[in-house]
Amino acid sequence: MASTSIQWSGIVADPRFQTLHRKKQSFLAGLMIFSVAYYFLLPIGAAYFPALFNVKVWGPINVGLLFALSQFVVAWGIAFYYSKRANKEFDAMARELVAEFEKKAKV
């Protein structure tokens, strides 16, 4: 593999990598927990809170139907939010490191 000439421990020890790692880790964990929790509210709500789900809000449309539709909006929202932050922030931080260490290793 061509990878041997790169100083891997150097990248991982680099404070910029550490910052990237920390920011990304907490951001991803937070989003992941939120999305899974939000999703499981749907089967739990449907099973244990039917009275709430059956409340009509707009013609025949009830809370349960709106909540199920909101799952789509929330999933898209999370995807959009993540990709915006990754495109703007994480990619730039990674690019800087990649350029520097690939140059150092002359690959």
Partner: protein
């Protein structure tokens, strides 16, 4: 250079395609009326022609193993997003979910949500790291910092297991579906699907597979949008107006009354209709729902044919873009399905749909026929033909992706990686890939024919359960947990797979002869009293009561016949396949138990095992998965 000359490839390709097409005209009765069957074939031939042309072009470009497995990493994010949607929206989700909504209302729609949310896991923790460090297969990721031989063996076996379950469900389900739709014999349709798929994969590799999936996804979305516009436009695109009309329909209200049984006695028609939009008509045990949800949300990220798609794009940014597109297309499609399902319930009626196919799979095709003008109209049959052809293309596209995933595990991981220890020429690599494709393709056709008549509906759920309990914990922890090592991967793969499969074998999904017999006898025991009641209604002379009584009598006849057939079917048997009188666990999907235990196995296995390499390689893996350094160079060799 490939081992096959271009000319031999072209000849072989045309030959296989011809076998596939000449098999078609062996016909029986299906949803498409015989007078209009040529329309289905015309539409289907057009789709095949288009995909064949693409494969023909692609065959020239497939020269190396990288071309064959990953289209040389030259697929764009947008293309890959459509291909993921085409790979993922199998007939089960495209026809099945519309059917569930038409039969059970709200619960059917709720079921679709998990299939989209699953992509959040793919987007956040799997797609980009896998693109950054993987090459062709799931086991490449596992082998990166662990013992390559051991992890390739367990990884490849798990990939082949998951793909085979999924493949069997697609082949059997597809065969039945095509028979119901067009009336082609089951065996013929299995062989046609298998041979067409082989033509695409064998000659066009990932390039052709990708385009088949893109074309199919585009056609599916176009068909759905047209149907939804036709369904929704009469209501001025108002959601409350549309739903009010749906639940005001007597066909829907009768269906709800039938589902609720005695509980419906004191309900007004309005209440029955509204009940269609409330949860609980299909799912009775919330714990099953949660368990299935876990298998979906964590299993999709471990499905080998989905993971493989991320190796076809050049960078992590394109991988990200492809998931975003896939989520937009898949989610948008499920929202459209809401209208297809409710529209079919209102216009065609749940009883008519279930009459053609008890699983409800014919909701969307029958809706298309109705909207075009009905069973005797040209346009109606054209629209039915179009949906049927898209369904056929769907099966081919999904099966192609699965076969490619299983073949890559066999050729790249087991043969090249383990048996030859990587010492192969580029020509040998491509030849191995093609031979493995033929082996897996032949296996798919054989299993498809052998499993005729088997209930395979739970096999897709089982594939997701194995992917979530074995593949997902292993991939996630080797990417994110420093201490994860060879011991953990081997333990996790074995424990996760065996647990998921073992728990299904002792679950209520299996057939328990004693329970079947009891249920059938109960039906027969109650028959007399019910029959007397219905007979009294027929004798009463009141027109409405006579009609209702005759309907009940007919239903009782059907129930009695089914009960007798059930008793005959389990005659002489006392235990299930694994020798059980009754299920050991109440869970239909094992995810709730097997996913946490799969994670636990990886953790315990890693802590008990000493593996210097896994620890030394951590910095390299972690730096690469986070930054994508060298990723572009990796794609070049």
């Amino acid at each position: 250079m490939s081992a096959l000359s271009y000319r031999t490839k072209a000849i072989g390709f045309v030959g296989l395609a011809a076998i596939g097409l000449t098999a078609l005209p062996a016909l029986a009765q299906g949803a498409v009326s015989p007078n209009y069957r040529w329309l289905t074939f015309a539409v289907f031939a057009a789709i095949i022609g288009m995909t064949m042309y693409v494969t023909f072009l692609a065959a020239k470009r497939v020269k190396t193993a990288a071309d064959f497995y990953t289209a040389g990493g030259g697929v764009s994010g947008l293309q890959n997003g459509w291909a993921i949607a085409g790979d993922y929206l199998s007939a089960a989700s495209f026809l099945g979910i519309a059917g569930l909504i038409s039969q059970f209302g709200y619960d059917g729609f709720m079921y679709s949500v998990g299939w989209l949310v699953a992509y959040i896991t793919v987007l956040l923790v799997i797609a980009e790291p896998c693109r950054n460090i993987g090459k062709y297969t799931l086991a490449d990721i596992l082998a990166y910092r662990n013992d390559p031989k051991k992890t390739r063996i367990v990884g490849a076996l798990s990939v082949i297991t998951v793909s085979t379950f999924y493949l069997t469900a697609q082949m059997v389900g597809g065969g039945v579906l095509v028979k119901t739709l067009i009336g082609i014999d089951y065996e013929i349709s299995v062989i046609t699907v298998g041979v067409l798929m082989l033509a695409y994969v064998l000659f066009g590799g990932m390039v052709a597979t990708t385009w088949v999936q893109i074309i199919k996804a585009v056609l599916l979305v176009i068909a759905s949008i047209v149907l939804v516009i036709l369904v929704w436009a009469p209501y001025g695109f108002s959601l409350p107006a549309f739903l009010t009309d749906v639940i005001g329909d007597p066909k829907v209200q009768t269906r709800v009354a039938g589902l609720l049984g005695d509980a419906a006695k004191n309900m007004s028609p309005e209440e029955l209709g509204q009940r269609f939009l409330e949860p609980g008509l299909l799912f009775k045990a919330p714990i099953d729902q949660i368990s299935l949800g876990m298998a979906l949300v964590f299993g999709t990220a471990g499905l080998p044919h989905i993971l493989m798609r991320f190796f076809t794009v050049p960078t992590a940014q394109e991988a990200r873009k492809s998931v975003i597109w896939a989520m937009a297309i898949i989610g948008g499609f499920y929202v459209l399905t809401l209208f297809l399902g409710f529209g079919a319930a209102r216009l065609v009626g749940p009883a008519v749909i279930a009459g053609v196919d008890p699983g409800g799979n014919m909701a969307a095709p029958l809706l298309a026929q109705y909207l075009g003008g009905g069973a005797d109209s040209m346009l109606g049959n054209f629209m039915l033909a179009f949906v049927a052809a898209v369904a056929f293309a769907t099966i081919v596209a999904v099966v192609a992706g699965l076969v490619l995933a299983a073949a890559s595990a066999m050729a790249h991981d087991l043969y090249v990686g383990v048996i030859r220890e990587g010492h192969v020429t580029p020509q040998e690599q491509v030849r191995a890939a093609r031979i493995a494709t033929v082996v897996v393709g032949a296996m798919a056709i054989t299993i498809g024919i052998a499993a005729k008549g088997q209930n395979v509906a739970h096999l897709v759920a089982l594939a997701f359960a194995v992917a979530a309990s074995a593949n997902f914990p292993c991939v996630l922890l080797t990417l994110y947990w420093r201490k994860c090592n060879t011991g953990g991967i081997v333990a996790g793969m074995i424990v996760g797979t065996l647990l998921a499969v073992g728990l299904v074998l002792v679950s209520p999904n299996m057939t328990y002869p004693a329970a079947v017999r009891d249920a059938a006898q109960k039906v027969l025991a109650a028959d007399g009293a019910k029959r007397a009641g219905a007979q009294a209604a027929v004798d009463s002379g009141d027109a409405a009561q006579v009609a209702a009584g005759q309907k009940t009598l007919a239903a009782l006849d059907r129930a009695a016949a089914k009960a007798k057939a059930d008793i005959e079917r389990v005659k002489g048997e006392t235990t299930s396949m694994v020798g059980l009188q009754a299920p050991l666990i109440g869970l239909k999907n094992p995810g709730l138990i097997s996913i946490p235990l799969g994670f636990l196995a990886v953790i315990i296995g890693s802590l008990l095992y000493r593996d210097k390499r896994a620890d030394e390689m951590w910095d390299e893996l972690y730096a690469r998965q986070n930054t994508g350094i060298l990723a572009s160079k990796a794609a070049a060799h």
